[in-house]
Symmetry: D2
Subunit: 135 residues, 4 copies
């Protein structure tokens, strides 16, 4: 994901100077979106997917919100701080809900352990980005 | 979009009874996502897109958030109320920011007038869905 | 979805005249994306989701491809015919794969019957749009 | 993106053994989606965005198709080879169209140079994944 960093550095008119936090979140959200997508798919392939309904659902939601949040942050120009803050909040909440759900199964299933780690990291990256937004 | 209504009625285990509000929002968010996508594209094809940067950006963000919000609401099972509420808030904020931006150009460009109407309608559908979420 | 039609009519510089086919596909793809999302969710809530793994997966894929295909078509300006044709092909293939899968369960589960209908309709809308693309 | 690799290794029932190609594509598509999103945004902030309409449009399309293609590949279970192949084709075509467009501006704008590199890399990752799909 190194080119994302270069892209931010070559942007002609970024709305804010939150470069490092933005870069960290674009990478973290991309990882979390992919990890949650794979975790939902892996849960569905376990022997008893009926026991994992809530986990699958929280992974699907978290994947969706991480993908869209990363996309907003990947646009450094003309940002609307109010929209960004609200979306970062929603993403952090979805990440923590998914982490809690996956942590229940973390001992039994390695993919849920990795997924919970990824969700915690992305939630923290959302928080840091939120604090870095000016105005 | 009539089949969406039938789908909700045939779901075996919905998390809530917010059927009508959910249906209205899935339809309204799909319309707003498409309308905002077309409005960004139309603004870019106007004679002076440099004057419409903020409008294009708010349309892109609004399209993304409407698409993902509609997707969450289209999953009636195992919903996380906290995640839904936060996402509905973010979507309503993005819709109103986009409406305000498009309303500035509504007299000059018909697509911005239609887009603003669509954004206002979707923001209201988000508010109604939010109130319908139990717990 | 009437505003989508108005948006297309007010676009300043559409790449093609495929207005009616494009409008039909934007609406059909939005419906199919929502319907497939709900069908995956409904299948997961059925008594034996392990028997519906393939159906859930094909619904998730079809929802994703319909959403992104509708989005491309909702941008009438500066279209790349080669990209559009390839994406319309991929979407039609995913729709038909999902329809076949859902049709196996159409008698047992009403949501799969509605979903299959929606997938067939969207696949046909993709085919018509593909034929309407000039060059 | 290391956790994506761990996720694939811990999946209980992958449809194929195309682990390395799949991992490379999930990472490459996530990078290309983010890079193209930032490139469209950067082009819009350049002094004369009207001269970059086609570039902005190809970046938006490429970002969308990379995001959705990465998502399909991030689901290793119950894959439909026909759908995957068609989507990989569409993604590779969009990546190459975007690369060609960005290469025209690569000397004038660094972000277009990085974007073209990212698109070429992702197109190649699509090709390798396509060859790795069995049946």
């Amino acid at each position: 994901m190194n080119r994302v960093h270069q892209m931010f550095a070559s942007h002609p008119n970024p709305a804010s100077d939150a470069g490092e936090e933005a870069f960290a979140l674009v990478v973290g959200a991309a990882e979390c979106a992919a990890v949650c997508t794979t975790c939902a798919d892996a849960c569905l392939e376990e022997d008893d997917p009926a026991a994992l309904r809530r986990c699958i659902r929280s992974c699907l939601d978290c994947a969706d919100l991480c993908a869209v949040t990363g996309r907003l942050i990947a646009r450094p120009g003309e940002q609307d701080p109010q929209t960004l803050r609200a979306q970062l909040d929603a993403c952090a909440i979805a990440c923590r809900a998914c982490a809690e759900e996956c942590e229940r199964h973390a001992e039994a299933m390695e993919h849920c352990r990795f997924c919970a780690e990824s969700c915690r990291a992305c939630a923290n990256a959302c928080d840091r980005m939120r604090q870095a937004i000016v105005a």
